[in-house]
Amino acid sequence: MAASLYFAFTDYDILTPPRWIGLANFQRMFFDDARYLQSVTVTVVYVAIAVPLRLAFALAVAMLLDTARHGVSVYRAAYYAPSVVAGSVAVAVMWRQVFGTQGVINAGLAILGVPPVKWLGDPDLAIWTLITLAVWQFGSPMLIFLAGLRQIPAELSEAAALDGAGAVARFFRITLPLLSPVTFFNLVMQTIAGFMVFTQAFIVTGGGPMDTTLFYALYLYRRAFESFQMGYASAMAWVLLVVVALLTALLFKTSGRWVFYEAKEGR
């Protein structure tokens, strides 16, 4: 770790010893490297869209599965299955073909009479293939939500129903507040994970077209292991660490306002 911090202030290509250049890496990053700024924008957009969508799906499905009906465990396994293989290259390879010009999505659209769309070739659309991939894999937050829902005593909902609260009111007034600690946990974990996405972008889009899916982790990898600019890449890694840490701190700070802890848990 210390070594990484030191490299961040150097110009280092492994072959020759590192050369101290002070803050030059950071200056280049923020002021001279347009691709860097592009990668920041892309990553922020991705996290801001994919994480809330994924959590919304996870919660919706968790509520569907929070029942004592037969077959729920089978459904739970089916919904979780895509997340088991989440990071694998095989799924990324498959995803590229699903959204390919000849792929399943276009074949489905053709049935509806829609002409084929270049999902991966269009700068405006490429990132959406990665967002759908992320949303598709909502398994782990779903399981955590499900565990959270099981903790909520059914009596609360019933009492509210007797008092005349409709399903919508019960959801917003009872389920959601009682679930807020779980939601908070999921939000923190998924946000951190969102910033680190690498394999999917590397395989599905390769950062293109026109750098519209050049995720931070992907750009960092290219700098470090394709151009061997270890110093610059270390600096990038540290900026990422600081940003993620700050963001986590910010989430914790604002959590007092919307995360509701029951008295016995609050100590």
């Binding site: 070594a3 990484s4 490299f7 280092y12 499905v61 509520m63 569907l64 599965l65 029942t67 004592a68 009906r69 077959g71 396994a77 089916a78 979780y80 299955a81 895509p82 997340s83 088991v84 293989v85 989440a86 990071g87 694998s88 290259v89 095989a90 799924v91 390879v93 498959m94 995803w95 699903v98 000849q102 074949a107 049935i111 598709w136 398994g139 782990s140 399981l143 565990a147 059914a154 909902s157 019933e158 129903a161 019960r170 974990m189 998924q190 680190m196 690498f198 395989i203 390769g206 982790a217 960092l220 990898y221 470090a224 292991f225 270890m230 890449a233 990038m236 890694a237 540290w238 660490l241």
Partner: protein, 302 residues
Amino acid sequence: MARAWAVTTGVREPTAPTVSAARRRREWLRTVLYHAVVAGLGFVMLYPILWLFASSFKAPAEIWTDVTSLIPRRFTPQNYVTGWAGFGRITFATFYKNSLIYAGVGTVAAVMSSAIVAYGFARIRFAGRGFWFTCMLLTLMLPVQVVIIPQYVFFTKLHLINTFYPLLLPRFFGMAFFVFMIMQFIRGIPKELDEAAEIDGCNHFGIFFRIILPLIRPALITAAIFSFYWTWEDFLTPLVYLNEPKLYTISVALRSFADPSAATDWGAIFAMSALSLVPVFLVFIVFQRYLVEGIATTGMKG
């Protein structure tokens, strides 16, 4: 919501038979509707995976002409035969072997070392314990990117690039996630057991191997499953350290195999992709219970 409904309608009320019949019919309708919606959604979720497996059994000509169908017109194992041959005279047998070494040795090493470290943190009072524990928690949220660059430099200096050492060595020092998880588990074991063993003449090693280890088996299994997944699917580490095709793990091999500029035989690519997912799904099906409980109780990401 759904449960509240189940509870209220589960109550048998002594009403007229016609009313109860209508109610039962409504209940039945709701059940059917529920299953239709949930199963339908589940099908959409699983569709891409089913499609991958179906395509891997289709004849090459059929894959793109009959894209959406999930049932091949004619089952053929041909794709698996041509795919298994791999590329550059290296078959997928080699890639499988490499992945098994990485995932097998890596998992055993990670789980055992994590258990020992967790025992140390949970039961032994030593100077600077708080400090080291904080350090470990910090590495929990550290991006891989921060660690991998100095590690790469370190292993380059030792001339260990293109060997399995850079992949396996770090696993022998425990992984923060598992240390934390196993620690929480050890804390739930009554200390009296340790003390009794100590009176009977056990030292720390004795306590660990005879008392703690058998009791934390569920935590070890959960950790092993996750470790296996993460290692089997790991892409970045082998990509960085292994540059010779004969050392490729499946994930790196698949990527070269499916290189968009060179790939033509999609049947073979789909077959090998599907094959690479088989161990993962097998573990998932066999150990589902541990997995679900593991995520629910520790809040781990999958």
